[in-house]
């Protein structure tokens, strides 16, 4: 099986797909009088498309734009400031995924607070955070729940462990979100001119291919569910090019080895047990109805914000930061006035530059002239 999976990285196969793809992209450009624009909405796609060299390789033939796919980047600054405030509470041990740690906010980042003595720990899995709570009964262990459909089931499963083992000192601050409502916002925005969407492969493992049919049916926009290896990405772009040239709009499954038509119902059921959807603010986009996942009343004892009401009232986004425009693909990262000047990976201003999956961070690493 490993040999089969390795084929999705073979340069020879990649070149074969490119040889078919580039003429199609040229044909489409001639037909429409402009280069096509395709958008991905997944931080891992942002990085893979840059890292494989595909974005640069195809830049003469198609615009490969990055949308709001990085969960850290779309976290509203008021939530960032609330998380920073939680970390300051005496009894709190804050646990988090790594990419949150350097995001700047009111009073400094978590990394800066950690350097000043705050009890902040990076974990790979939420289960590790539950374990920390079990091992430290005198502390209130708060986990920062950030992530889309791929991550939320794993957090819900950890809540189940905490529930079963009666870990009373474990709390969750949930800023989990779901992608389809944000797609509706993008597809309804006349300024967001996209000819096709590269849909997130692992979010789709959970949701299923079928969950995206609205992109084609309601908005007449081509879409493809795409994996993350170089060949996967090229196959996805190739499929979108075919759709555009044939005047089609459908949702192809180009990642069938992982994505099923119905997705993973067990994962969705675990989420439904602990979470309920509600309106949530996305950086750069504003309120997206039904896009946030919040802990159900039945499990309110896990809500960090009830144990520690830390809502910050005077939260401000960083001055001059254009993450919002970048996140909607309205400007390229390089077009933000701060990019590469006052905003760099070493001294980031906004989350798009901090997060390992942020567009600005990826473009700084791979697309600076």
């Amino acid at each position: 099986m490993q040999e089969i999976l390795d084929k999705f990285r073979r340069p020879e196969l990649g070149k074969q797909v490119l040889a078919e793809l580039i003429p199609k992209l040229n044909q489409a450009a001639d037909k429409f009088g402009r280069k096509l624009s395709f958008m991905e909405v997944c931080g891992t796609h942002t990085v893979s498309i840059s890292h494989t060299g595909i974005r640069d390789l195809l830049s003469n033939y198609v615009n490969l734009k990055s949308g709001p796919g990085c969960p850290v980047c779309v976290t509203d600054h008021s939530d960032i400031d609330a998380m920073l405030e939680l970390a300051r509470q005496e009894k709190v041990t804050l646990t988090t995924f790594g990419d949150m740690v350097r995001v700047p906010g009111k009073g400094g980042s978590l990394a800066e607070q950690k350097a000043e003595g705050a009890d902040i720990r990076i974990v790979y899995s939420t289960l590790d955070a539950v374990q920390i709570a079990e091992d430290n009964p005198g502390r209130d262990v708060v986990f920062l729940g950030i992530g889309f459909e791929t991550t939320t089931p794993t957090v819900a499963a950890a809540l189940q462990v905490a529930e079963k083992k009666r870990v009373d000192n474990f709390y969750l601050y949930s800023v989990h979100k779901v992608v389809p409502p944000a797609m509706h916002v993008l597809l309804s925005d006349p300024d967001v001119k996209i000819d096709g969407f590269i849909l997130p492969g692992h979010v789709s493992v959970v949701l299923g291919r079928k969950a995206w049919d609205f992109v084609a049916e309601d908005y007449n926009c081509p879409a493809a569910v795409v994996g993350f290896e170089a060949v996967d990405i090229l196959l996805g772009i190739n499929d979108l090019a075919d759709q555009v040239l044939n005047g089609q709009a459908k949702v192809s499954n180009m990642y069938s080895r992982a994505v099923k038509e119905e997705g993973n119902p067990a994962a969705r059921q675990m989420v439904d047990r602990y979470f309920t959807p509600g309106d949530a603010a996305w950086r750069g986009i504003g309120i997206v109805p039904g896009s946030g996942m919040f802990i159900r009343d039945e499990f309110r004892r896990f809500r960090a914000e009830e144990k520690y009401p830390v809502a910050v009232s005077d939260s401000q986004p960083p001055r001059g930061c254009a993450c919002g425009e970048v996140l909607k693909g309205k400007i390229w990262p390089q077009q933000c006035p701060l990019f590469g000047a006052t905003c760099t990976p070493v001294s980031p201003v906004g989350p798009c530059m901090v997060s390992s999956e942020g567009a600005c961070s990826a473009y700084y690493r791979y697309h600076r002239e």
Binding site: L13, Q16, Y124, T150, T151, T154, M254, S256, R257, E357
Partner: protein
């Protein structure tokens, strides 16, 4: 973060499986995947398997391009 990795199952124990990712062994939760067997390949994210990787489907995706490739070699 969609950063999931494919791993091979070495052993299964209730709701957890021991998996191998290129030599590194880890325990992952398998509550989301039915019927996990030794030798299966799983997609793992944040300590949990989110799906089994389908060999048939992988081959199917590659098949069309490999036909073109071998046709090219003959011609």
């Amino acid at each position: 973060m969609c950063l999931s990795i494919p791993v091979k199952v070495i052993s299964v124990d209730g709701e957890y499986a021991e998996v191998d990712f290129q030599g590194v062994k880890k325990s992952v939760g398998i509550t989301f995947v039915k019927d996990v067997r030794v030798g299966d390949y799983l997609l793992v994210h944040s300590g949990f398997a989110i799906e089994k990787i389908g060999e048939e489907e992988a081959l199917e995706t590659l098949r069309l391009w490999e036909e073109i490739e071998s046709a090219g070699n003959i011609g």
